[in-house]
């Protein structure tokens, strides 16, 4: 569906995309995950032939993407990061206006607009101007304007920024439904939880480069991450901590005052083995919590830094 090969984009001295590759198959929900400034929006703008590129090639639907590729554009929908609405038009008029750039037939367009309004839960707000809408509703309207013409490929650039949790869940659910109806989705975000929850394929990018690509399990497997246990021990000695370090299923131990943070190796859960070991040494457990590895852990493992924002 989308092929980006060796794309280089420079803003004077700054290399925004550094031999960037992206391959999106049909009917995927493809996640592009990276911190702010990693090049996600730049990649999308290049993909849509809005920006000049210095190297590489870009094809969409198997054809080279150019500013005059009107036939290709007919099947693409964009939900930009910045809310793009006409402030002087109400909800219904905004959707109709932008849908009108794709669909000329008035009757057909009316039906599409009604469907988009219903899909995004904006029925009660048809006559509202954008300035009267909350942030979450504006985002929904932003999405409605991008999907009304029923595109085959939908690109969403950080659609849930500054959105309340309820609206966010509603947006994510809507995207799943669109995908179930055959729409290919390219979803960019710096919120790992959304990408983990939603996307079938993920590319992690940083500083204009694609660092890792795969499903979330593949990504976690590629850095050999297992569960993480936080445990507060009641009575333990230094020798006990050293012994825990020596356990074969423990890859790393961090001591934070009286709490141990243990990274376990991948595979079946090793928690039972850890508890048995502690019982054998008569070490009482004060508190214990288990966390499965996240994409943030993958990013940290690969780049040495964290994804800067989280939900």
């Amino acid at each position: 569906m989308i092929q980006m090969n060796g794309v280089v984009k420079r803003y004077k001295e700054l290399v925004a995309l550094d031999h960037f590759d992206l391959h999106v198959q049909a009917r995927e929900i493809y996640g592009l995950l990276g911190p702010n400034g990693s090049g996600k929006s730049t990649a999308i703008n290049c993909m849509l032939a809005l920006l000049t590129i210095q190297k590489g090639d870009i094809t969409v639907f198997g054809q080279q993407m150019k500013p005059t590729s009107y036939a290709l554009k007919r099947d693409i929908g964009l939900v930009p990061q910045e809310v793009a609405l006409m402030e002087e038009l109400n909800v219904q008029e905004n959707i109709d206006y932008f849908c009108g750039l794709y669909v000329a037939d008035v009757r057909k367009r009316k039906q599409l607009v009604d469907e988009a309004i219903a899909f995004c839960g904006l029925e009660k707000f048809r006559k509202f101007l954008p300035k009267k809408l909350s942030g979450g509703l504006k985002r929904r309207l932003n999405i409605a304007c991008g999907i009304a013409h029923k595109p085959r490929l939908l690109i969403l650039d950080e659609p849930t920024v500054a959105v309340d949790p309820q609206s966010r869940n509603s947006i994510l659910e809507g995207i799943r439904q669109l995908n179930q109806h055959g729409v290919t989705v390219l979803y960019t975000s710096h919120y790992m939880e959304e990408v983990e929850q939603l996307c079938t394929m993920i590319t992690i990018m940083d500083k204009g480069k694609a660092i890792l690509t795969g499903t979330k399990d593949e990504l976690k497997a590629s850095v050999n991450l297992g569960d993480q246990v936080r445990i507060r021990l009641v009575n333990h000695s230094r020798q006990d901590v050293d012994a825990i370090r020596q356990l074969p299923f423990i890859s790393r131990v961090d001591v934070q005052e009286d709490t141990l943070v243990l990274d376990m190796t991948r595979g079946e859960s090793k928690v039972a083995g850890l508890i048995n070991f502690l019982e054998q040494r008569d070490i009482a457990i004060g508190e214990m919590s288990l966390r499965q590895p996240t994409l943030n852990d993958v990013f940290l493992e690969v780049t040495g830094k964290e994804l800067r924002d989280s939900v």
Binding site: L51, E88, Y97, G100
Partner: protein
């Protein structure tokens, strides 16, 4: 698609409060103010109170001609008993001078031979006193001349004839008998036309991907940029033209201001002038790199600077620019519109050179837009 973009941009323009204010409400308010300020300027009595004047008697009084009685007898207004000049006797020239400097009187008249007039400033009162003295002296010379020719003519008959005689007739400077204050209304119409530059800039901002998110959304649609710009631009320009026509209709039909009989040609000037202002705004927006606010700021600055140079805020500036920097006057879009409108006042026939200049300027601005908007890729968004 053209129709959809056109219809919605008509709606968008009509709902933009800034457009409604600067293109419609502001000119209507200002023209109403003009009407109130200039309403009686050619018929009203400028002097409503007697003018205090110091009078110094001549060394020798002429029994046949008493200037003091003549000056003191001039009526104020067409009816009523008040007198135009309130005479204060001064012993001598020095005392009269003191009275003028102290502000006790507006002027001082020293009688004797040719009367002398002393003032320390120029204002309506001083002008009236001088006019009176000139007229008295002219009448005296006329009567004296006639008496020399025919000493038997009674003076009272001559005086009666002179009172009914007009020495000049008012000739209209223009063919349509517009009054001089029409210039101010034309200046306001020129500002209204030039103000369309903001609307032109907004069209570029909303349709260019590197200037707004709305432009980016439009750029990835199958509607070509030229279609969107043409449709949106036509709609916005038509609204601007309609508003200038409404302002003209208000001036002529509601305020009753006579702006000439050549209304069709005036409408053409307004339409072309608005187009020129609109395309100027588009050209500025295409050339300026920066945010939407920066573009609108530059456009407003161009509009204000152009208006200033045409004398729309101070008429002395226009004369200064015309004489000192004539080349600037020729390329200033605001001057082109103002001169085209002023030509209706000053020329007896349609002067098409100004209209042709405006059309050439429109073509130039359109070329700038075509070249710069033609770029399809952007370096950054």
């Amino acid at each position: 698609m053209f129709r959809t973009v056109f219809q919605y941009n008509l709606l968008i323009t009509l709902r933009q409060k800034s457009v409604l204010f600067w293109s419609l409400a502001f000119p209507l308010l200002l023209s109403t103010f003009f009407s109130m300020a200039f309403s009686n300027i050619y018929t009203a009595e400028i002097i409503r109170e007697p003018i205090p004047v110091a009078y110094v008697a001549p060394a020798q009084v002429n029994p046949l001609y008493n200037l003091k009685d003549i000056l003191g007898d001039i009526p104020l207004g067409q009816d009523g008993e008040a007198r135009l000049l309130e005479l204060h006797t001064a012993e001598n020239t020095e005392q009269a001078r003191t009275m003028v400097l102290d502000g006790q009187v507006a002027a001082a008249v020293m009688d004797g031979g040719l009367p002398q007039l002393m003032t320390n400033r120029v204002g309506p009162q001083q002008v009236v006193v001088k006019q009176v003295l000139d007229q008295v002296d002219a009448t005296k010379q006329t009567i004296t001349g006639l008496m020399r020719q025919n000493p038997l003519i009674p003076v009272s008959h001559i005086a009666a004839e002179l009172n009914q005689m007009d020495y000049t007739q008012t000739a209209s400077i223009n063919r349509d008998r517009m009054t001089p204050d029409s210039i101010y209304y034309f200046a306001l119409l020129a500002m209204t036309c030039l103000g369309a530059c903001s609307a032109g800039a907004m069209i570029v901002i909303l349709q260019q991907a590197d200037k707004s998110a709305e432009g980016a959304r439009g750029a990835i649609s199958p509607a070509s940029k030229w279609l969107r710009v043409a449709a949106a631009g036509t709609a916005s320009w038509l609204v601007q033209v309609a508003m200038s026509f409404i302002v003209l209709a208000y001036m002529t039909l509601v305020l009753g201001k006579h702006l000439g009989d050549n209304i069709p040609y005036l409408l053409v000037i307004l339409a072309v002038g608005t187009l020129m202002g609109f395309l100027l705004g588009m050209a500025v927006a295409c050339m300026v790199r920066g945010s939407a606010n920066a573009i609108l700021g530059v456009t407003t600055s161009v509009y204000l600077f152009s208006s200033f140079l045409t004398g729309l805020m101070s008429d002395r500036v226009k004369r200064l620019v015309d004489t000192s920097l004539p080349w600037l006057s020729r390329i200033n879009p605001g001057t082109m519109i103002v001169d085209a409108l002023y030509s209706l006042y000053y020329y007896r026939e349609n002067n098409y050179q100004y209209l042709i200049s405006m059309l050439l300027a429109c073509a130039l601005f359109a070329a700038v837009v075509a070249v710069t908007l033609g770029r399809r890729y952007h370096d950054s968004i």
